[in-house]
């Protein structure tokens, strides 16, 4: 390695690092962060409730593009104090909001995640009980003006490609949910 190479590297890597920091800091300044509760019902199956968060960037499609994380479980739904199966779904999502300047928005969302059901007994371990999730979703969001609260309703459809008999029985495709968000911060638009 020549001195010139070393010099190039010494200059090159800090430049890349600096660029990343600038880029990341610009994007990662949150335009908005909402956290809240999700109430979800699967058609023909369980109530599964949990938490939901939505996050938008200040300098990258603010108030248009949201990324989110949702976690729902039947433990605080149908399985609470019953013999229903304890199961949970964790989802990462990307959402696109329409009607950016208005209080109400139509929402298109794509979710990806993981489903797990706890069958409890050792001799049930071979029964399909987990699955990767992919679901497109449509919804409607309303931001209240006077209070930092948003209300979202949506309906999605899990695309289940596994052969019949090879996916968890209590994972059914069509679901509806209601989300009640508290807007923790919502920086003014640039």
């Amino acid at each position: 390695m020549t001195f010139s190479d070393l010099f190039q590297r010494r200059l090159f890597f800090p430049k890349v690092l600096l660029l990343c920091i600038i880029l990341f800091s610009n994007i990662a300044v949150a335009q908005g962060l909402k956290v809240g509760l999700r109430f979800q019902k699967t058609s023909g199956m369980y109530w599964e409730n949990g938490i939901s968060t939505q996050y938008s960037f200040a300098n990258f499609k603010p108030n248009r593009l949201f990324i989110g994380f949702d976690f729902v479980t039947s433990r605080v739904g149908t399985a609470f104090n019953s013999n229903a199966i304890n199961q949970s779904s964790s989802l990462l999502s990307a959402s696109w909001l329409f009607n950016k300047s208005k209080a109400y928005h139509f929402v298109a969302r794509l979710n990806m995640g993981y489903f797990y059901s706890d069958l409890e007994e050792e001799f049930f371990k071979e029964i399909p009980h987990s699955a990767f999730l992919l679901s497109p979703e449509l919804g409607f969001l309303y931001d209240f003006k006077d209070i930092p609260v948003s209300l979202n309703i949506g309906s999605g459809f899990y695309i289940i490609t596994a052969e019949d008999g090879y996916s968890p029985g209590t994972l059914q495709p069509l679901y509806y949910h209601l989300d009640l968000y508290y807007r923790i911060f919502n920086n003014p638009r640039k």
């Binding site: 058609s43 019953s82 007994e121 009980h129 008999g165 996916s167 029985g169 994972l171 059914q172």
Partner: protein, 307 residues
């Protein structure tokens, strides 16, 4: 038994806004009916022995109940296999089944169940004291509903209940939205062989799929709340590990929600199988040695409890 919404890989959906074209070579038509309608004495013990002797009454009777859209054919192999003189098999044809398409379409799950009740009560009235029931697929669901609704509480308690691939949750993911898309589809056509067309409805009206979903929902809810078997009743579930019609999770729900009268666990056996109603091998293609062994295992266990 079920096949699309209740079957699996060999299914063809027909999208239509009118009733199907039904020919006389189908069970759905006006020419082929379940033989138990012509000769009930060949299928129902109550009809065969209307005045049972004390020797007859000493026999253990097992009601064999078929599944959704099927006929008495589903338990024919068990009858053929059974040579044990200590028990007799009464093959029940669910109401609304084994007739024509319109009869099936007009039937409710309560109609389906009433045929089981009718034979069970007739046997009691005749004086039988040892009665068991085996049900496949929806037959198992209907048996569970009889237990959870308390039907047996005021009657003779069955000695044994056997469920083969019982349907509490479907493997077919579209079945849960049949109530939404059903009116557009009108019916579902199943791709089955010409020979099977004589024993299972080829066309499944969406109304009957809704009925099926309804009874599954009733049973699932009851299991969530908790159900106890009648005193003195033994129950065992046999389920294919990868059942393409009745999800094996059904048996998990039964295991969690149904206890013996003393509060103990029920028996569940998972079979190394990927066919629905593994006890019926007749008219199936490429039957394997494992499938034969599974069938024999279940038949042997059931028969051993009927002494």
């Amino acid at each position: 038994m079920l096949k699309f919404f209740l079957a699996g890989s060999l299914v063809a959906l027909t999208f239509s806004c009118s009733d199907p074209t039904i020919t006389d070579d189908l069970l759905d038509g006006d020419a082929i009916f379940d033989p138990s309608l012509y000769n009930p004495e060949e299928y129902l013990i109550s009809a065969k022995y209307p005045s049972p002797t004390p020797e007859d009454l000493d026999k253990h009777i097992i009601l064999a109940v078929h599944g959704y859209s099927a006929t008495t054919f589903e338990w024919e192999e068990f009858k053929d296999w059974s040579v044990n003189p200590s028990y007799r098999i009464s093959q029940v044809l669910l109401d609304g089944h084994g007739r024509d398409y319109e009869s099936f379409k007009a039937s409710s799950w309560r109609d389906w169940s009433s045929a089981i009740k009718r034979e069970y009560e007739q046997l009691i009235d005749l004086g039988y004291t040892k009665i068991s029931i085996v049900g496949s697929s929806t037959g198992g669901t209907l048996i569970l509903e009889l237990v959870s609704s308390g039907y047996f509480n005021s009657r003779l308690h069955p000695k044994n209940l056997f469920l083969v691939d019982p349907l509490v949750v479907s493997s077919n993911k579209l079945q849960s939205i049949a109530g939404i898309v059903g009116p557009m589809l009108v019916y579902v056509e199943v791709d089955q062989s010409a020979e099977e067309d004589k024993y299972w409805y080829r066309f499944r009206p969406h109304e009957t799929i809704n009925e099926l979903n309804e009874v599954m929902k009733v049973v699932r809810k009851d299991l969530e709340d908790g159900v106890k078997l009648p005193s003195g009743t033994y129950l065992k579930v046999f389920h294919s590990l990868h059942d393409p019609v009745a999800s094996t999770t059904s048996s998990v729900l039964i295991f969690k929600g149904l206890k013996t009268n003393a509060g103990g666990k029920i028996d569940v056996q998972l079979m190394n199988s990927d066919i629905h109603v593994f006890t019926r091998l007749s008219l199936r293609n490429n039957v394997t040695a494992l499938q034969v062994a599974n069938q024999l295992d279940a038949f042997t266990q059931i028969a051993s409890k009927l002494n």
